[in-house]
Amino acid sequence: MSTTFNRRLLIVWLILTSMTLAYVWMDHTVDQNGTLRASTVVTVSAIVIALIKVRIIFREFMEVRHAPAWLCRLTDAWVVLIAACLLGSYFVGSAVS
């Protein structure tokens, strides 16, 4: 049982690390010769990937998947709230600039 759990935690860590490394590839595709370029796709993807990572940390590392339904729903609602605030701020800010 213990080995199964540890293997699961290892897989979770590998997924989180891979998602972190994906950022390097993502930024390289948009930046040109060291000059950083504005990109809505990269910005939205970066925020979405970060929120997916946060949800994985909640569910797996913080053991929310074993928690009562109210805590699962509350943490999920929190991730949605953060997503709405971050993406909303970015798009509203872009629209008024």
Binding site: T20, L36, W78, L81, G93
Partner: protein
């Protein structure tokens, strides 16, 4: 002080659903993440108003250092998650080793962050340089204060696990919840400061 075996049932006897740690810590986690989200929103709006300045300033940050920092904190989170499981199964020696590894990776993160600050200051990028670096230094330093508090919290875990008379699984889980919060806040800060374009 609560004893592990006495206070909470072992894994096999445990009901399927349980709240990890004390519910109060979860309220703190949600409150903290909401506070940070408020600041992140201000940062993103400011960013859209002066995109060129932010992109130019961001070029002075090394994405690889940010990735290294993130992996160090993810390693520490992984270690504390293993510590919680080991302690729940009564394997206190592995639990202590994992708690120590968590502290080690936390220290790696902190040292790397301080070296990055020194590098930026030598490059002439300080708190007063421009708006981007104000956000950068404010967010990273407020996060580092959380890391420093985390070391005290991890010290409590080690202290708890050290002696059989002190072992409280609920307290270990509560402390782990705090440390994971430090980790996921950094995941968001890293994406916003280093990655967004």
């Amino acid at each position: 002080m609560t004893n592990l075996a006495g206070s909470r049932p072992q894994l096999e006897e445990k009901p399927t659903k349980f709240v990890p740690g004390q519910p109060d810590m979860w309220m703190f986690v949600l409150f903290e993440s909401l506070l940070f989200t408020g600041y992140f929103s201000v940062y993103l709006v400011s960013r859209t108003q002066n995109e060129e300045l932010y992109l130019r300033s961001q070029a002075a940050l090394d994405l690889r250092i940010g990735v290294f920092n993130t992996i160090a904190l993810l390693l520490s989170s992984w270690a504390i998650a293993r510590c919680v499981k080991a302690s729940r199964e009564g394997a206190y020696r592995p639990a202590l080793i994992n708690a120590s590894l968590t502290i080690l990776f936390g220290v790696v993160f902190l040292v790397s962050k301080v070296l990055e600050w020194v590098k930026e200051i030598h490059m002439g990028n300080t708190f007063t340089s421009n708006e981007f670096f104000q956000h950068y230094f404010f967010l990273t330093s407020i996060h580092c204060i959380h890391v420093l508090i985390g070391f005290i919290v991890l010290g409590v875990v080690v202290y708890q696990l050290w002696s059989p008379v002190r072992r409280s699984q609920q307290l270990v889980e509560t402390c782990a919840t705090y440390w994971h919060t430090v980790d996921f806040l950094w995941v968001l800060i890293f994406a916003l400061l280093y990655v967004v374009r």
